[in-house]
């Protein structure tokens, strides 16, 4: 059996403002059908959204754990307001489930107790990872823009320290966060008066250039890539570099199907060209990209050289 069969598939936290009902349905299906090993829950982007779905959190955790999934709670990427500081402190105080920290405020609250480092934490290099490991980090998710050669070095160092290493292999790339809500701005509102208009865009609000080229997606205070990152063809390389966890970000497509394709490639039961063609079909209408991984502009789709 391929070593890749040991690699874990994870489902990242939902970045968008999906309704409580949509979330319940989504996670029920993930629990029952998706071949993912670990699931990250929690509001990472906008603290105003959390009250809509946090009441369901205990039931969702129970449902996923009953299905054999490991659950991890993620903290906010941006911490500024009182409620954001409190939300971060509340999660940092928890002993179970595991937690993933996305802001230095969370690191401060957590102290030396074990935690995971999230993708917004800017763990770009071996020195930073070593520092974080010394403070209790057990697992690190690398920044989305890190190229393959740096991923290899960072992963080698992290593994030598006993850390798990994760990177996003599917979904829109997180490109920026701001204090300003761009969803509210598009509708002539402010963040305090947003009326949760972001709920209208379960896969982000598309921005096009004025000559009509799709380029970015707005998700509240976050800006994302228009393209979905797709590193399915690079999976074998990534696993060979020592990465232990591959993260799929929830998009408004058949995520059970997406997870199944990645699992099949990891298990060696489906050839990459066939799996990637099926993935493209599942994501019809959205460009796929792998530029960041190859050290190129993120939106690019770079063909892998055929194996010799």
């Amino acid at each position: 059996m391929a070593v890749t069969a040991m690699t874990k598939l994870t489902l990242g936290p939902i970045a968008y403002h999906w309704s409580a009902e949509a979330r319940r349905d989504f996670y029920a299906r993930i629990a029952d059908e998706a071949p993912v090993d670990e699931v990250y829950l929690g509001e990472v982007i906008c603290s105003k959204r959390a009250p809509f779905h946090e009441a369901d959190l205990p039931a969702t955790i129970e449902r996923l754990e009953a299905a054999g999934k490991t659950v991890i709670l993620s903290t906010l990427a941006e911490v500024m307001l009182k409620r954001e500081r409190k939300a971060t402190a509340d999660i940092a105080a928890m002993d179970a489930p595991e937690i993933e920290i996305n802001n230095a405020a969370g690191l401060y609250e957590r102290g030396h107790r074990s935690h995971r480092i999230g993708p917004f934490m800017n763990a770009y290099n071996e020195a930073t990872i070593a520092w974080m490991a010394g403070q209790g980090a057990t697992h690190v998710c690398l920044p989305a823009e890190l190229p393959a050669e740096a991923i290899a070095v960072a992963t080698g160092a992290a593994r030598a320290l006993g850390l798990g290493v994760e990177m996003q292999v599917f979904g829109r790339a997180p490109l920026a966060v701001s204090a300003r809500c761009y969803h509210a701005r598009a509708h002539g509102r402010t963040k305090d008066n947003c009326q949760f208009v972001c709920e209208e865009d379960p896969d982000g609000m598309p921005l096009r250039t004025r000559d009509n080229r799709p380029v970015l997606r707005v998700n509240g205070i976050q800006t994302q890539s228009e393209s979905y990152v797709d590193l399915l063809p690079e999976t074998a390389q990534i696993v060979a570099a020592g990465v232990t966890h591959l993260r799929l970000m929830p998009q408004a497509v058949d995520m059970v199907g997406v997870a199944g394709l990645f699992r099949a490639v990891l298990d060696g039961t489906l050839a990459v060209p066939e799996a990637d063609a099926r993935l493209a079909a599942l994501c019809e209408g959205t460009d796929l990209s792998n530029g960041f991984y190859h050290g190129a502009a993120g939106y690019r789709r770079i063909a892998l050289a055929a194996p010799a």
Partner: protein, 332 residues
């Protein structure tokens, strides 16, 4: 009352001397490589130039702050360490850092040199700031440009270090140190390479009807009518269309520059220790004008006199100005 130090940009040795002569309390600068967030062609310092510049500044009573405020990608950390070693050897007064690995190295290797936390670290809460103070001995935080004055006052009460805020210049919209927009379109990273909307990828296309479009790496960032002045294609200041905005709009922010001159007294009262002027890419004459005007304004305020900011308004004439997030939460 705080000291209200004036921290001024030095993109070149000549700009450094100009800023010092115009009354800067401190200047900030970087080396000619990816270790700082203004890694632009023709800017920044060789080690020899920095040595001479430190001597010049110190002779006139000004401090030199060295920006090492980018994030080294794995495998390239040595470049940042060497830059820190060089800076310490040349006698800089502080390092401005963002990456935890870089901060940890300096704290262990050069404990006598002050550490300032760059805006690129995006520390926007008392807890985040305390994390850097307690672990790396950070003495000053440069606050993200996203906080209101009451919020700054609150943070001041809860942290053990000094506060520096931007008061003038380019107005970044995204949380600094958390933005990969440039890398998404150009393949060059703001965090790892120190570039933002690089000039090498900029193009202006003239159309048959006299209109003009500004492009970055082939993406149209904005369009201008025959009578409009074409702006630089910075991604977060471009015009785009959205389903509810088919006419095209500034999705993130209009191309404005930050000018907090009118808020200076309030910022001083809120406990801000140092005011930062953006613009390492700017000309000597720009630096001279801005630094002189702010020097006079700060001195007037500290002496209890009415400050006249007319000179500063003139500097940005023809451009839109904003007080950004500092004045009101409605900005968000």
């Amino acid at each position: 009352m705080s000291l209200a130090e004036l921290i001024c940009p030095a993109g070149t040795p000549a700009a450094l001397r100009t800023a010092v002569d115009a009354g800067a309390d401190a200047v900030y600068c970087g080396f000619q490589d990816a270790t700082n967030a203004r890694n632009f062609p023709g800017l920044n310092f060789t080690p020899d130039e920095l040595a001479a510049s430190v001597a010049y500044a110190h002779a006139k009573g000004a401090k030199v702050l060295l920006a090492l405020n980018t994030y080294p990608p794995a495998g390239k950390v040595d470049l940042w360490r060497q830059a820190a070693d060089t800076g310490a050897r040349l006698g800089v007064d502080a390092f401005i850092v963002a990456d935890m690995g870089v901060a940890d190295y300096i704290a262990r290797t050069h404990p006598a040199v002050r550490l300032h936390l760059s805006v690129q670290a995006a520390a926007s809460s008392p807890e985040a700031i305390r994390y850097y103070c307690e672990n790396f001995g950070v003495r000053r935080v440069v606050l993200p440009r996203i906080l209101t004055i009451p919020e700054i006052r609150q943070i001041r009460a809860e942290i053990p270090c000094e506060i520096e805020t931007f008061i003038f210049g380019n107005h970044g919209l995204m949380v600094e140190g958390r933005c990969s927009l440039t890398n998404y379109l150009t393949g060059q990273s703001t965090n790892m390479d120190g570039v933002c909307s690089p000039a090498s990828d900029v193009d202006y296309a003239r159309h048959a009807d006299g209109s003009m479009s500004s492009q970055l790496a082939g993406f149209t960032i904005d369009c201008f009518g025959p009578d409009e002045k074409a702006g630089y294609p910075t991604i977060c200041k471009g015009r785009y269309t959205a389903p509810h905005r088919p006419e095209g709009y500034y999705a993130f922010e209009e191309p404005v520059s930050l000018n907090l001159s009118r808020l200076l007294p309030e910022l001083i009262d809120a406990g801000v220790h140092a005011f930062k002027i953006e613009g390492r890419q700017r000309s000597k004459s720009y630096v001279r004008g801005v630094v002189r005007a702010f020097r006079k304004a700060v001195d007037d305020i500290r002496a209890g006199r009415e400050a006249n900011m007319a000179d500063l308004v003139a500097l940005t004439e023809g451009q839109k100005q904003t007080q950004g997030a500092f004045e009101t939460k409605k900005w968000r």
